[in-house]
């Protein structure tokens, strides 16, 4: 399984859309998830979110999650994750996940798994800026 793990302080909005996942001809499904900073949190307006990470551990933990994706859905060809760090304005993309697989069932399942588990194990924290 091909992997991309990128923590970046640069806006990824220019990258919205397909990353260079270069699906092989056996692949039939590509799922992209973009998480966006909402302009409200718990009903209160916010300006931005400041993301902090334990960077080497975050990359390592994303790698462990990708091992689990590979075990659970061996047909998945590639998984890419891009996570913003630092200040992310409301309306900007904070996280972007792409999964390429032969069929949609495993592409959706693997993508949702990665996001759900990320929120349990990958050491990234946010601070709301109002």
């Amino acid at each position: 399984m091909r992997r991309t793990i990128l923590l970046t302080r640069d806006p990824i909005s220019e990258l919205w859309g397909m990353p260079d996942v270069a699906p092989s001809t056996a692949m039939g499904a590509i799922v992209n998830f973009h998480g966006v900073v909402r302009a409200t949190e718990a009903g209160e307006p916010i300006v931005a979110i400041e993301y902090e990470a334990h960077e080497p551990m975050a990359v390592h933990q994303f790698g462990l999650l990708m091992n689990r994706v590979e075990q659970n859905w061996p047909q998945v060809e590639s998984v890419s994750v891009v996570h913003r760090l630092g200040r992310v304005e409301a309306g900007e993309v904070s996280v972007w996940v792409v999964v390429v697989a032969p069929h949609r069932a495993e592409a959706f399942a693997a993508c949702q798994f990665l996001i759900d588990e990320m929120k349990q194990t990958v050491p990234i924290w946010k601070r709301i800026l109002r």
Binding site: G35, Y51, E52, A53, H54, P56, M57, A58, H60, Q61, H83, S94, V95, I115, M118, K119, Q120, T121, V122, P123, I124, W125, K126, R127
Partner: protein, 81 residues
């Protein structure tokens, strides 16, 4: 032996800094480290139940036996995405 303790997110504010060096008896566990640390920083003790603990880049339980030079990270629940 000495272990380096790193604080992340708002634990940094509670601890008053990024990191601290703790001196422990050989064979000490994470539980013993925390006990010693909490005497010094009681505000962290109150958050014990939701504290996540890693040594290096991997999560560990409180019964993990520390080695000299270990780097222990303490942090609140993660919130990526």
């Amino acid at each position: 032996m000495r272990v380096r303790v790193l604080f992340w997110s708002y634990f940094r504010d509670l601890a008053g800094g990024d990191e601290i060096m703790e001196v422990l008896s050989p064979g000490a566990t994470i539980a013993q480290l925390l006990e010693q640390l909490h005497r010094r920083i009681p505000r962290l003790a109150a958050l014990q139940k939701s504290t996540l603990i890693a040594v290096g880049m991997d999560y560990q339980d409180k019964d993990y036996v520390l080695k000299d030079g270990d780097e222990v990270s303490l942090f609140p629940p993660v919130q990526g995405g």
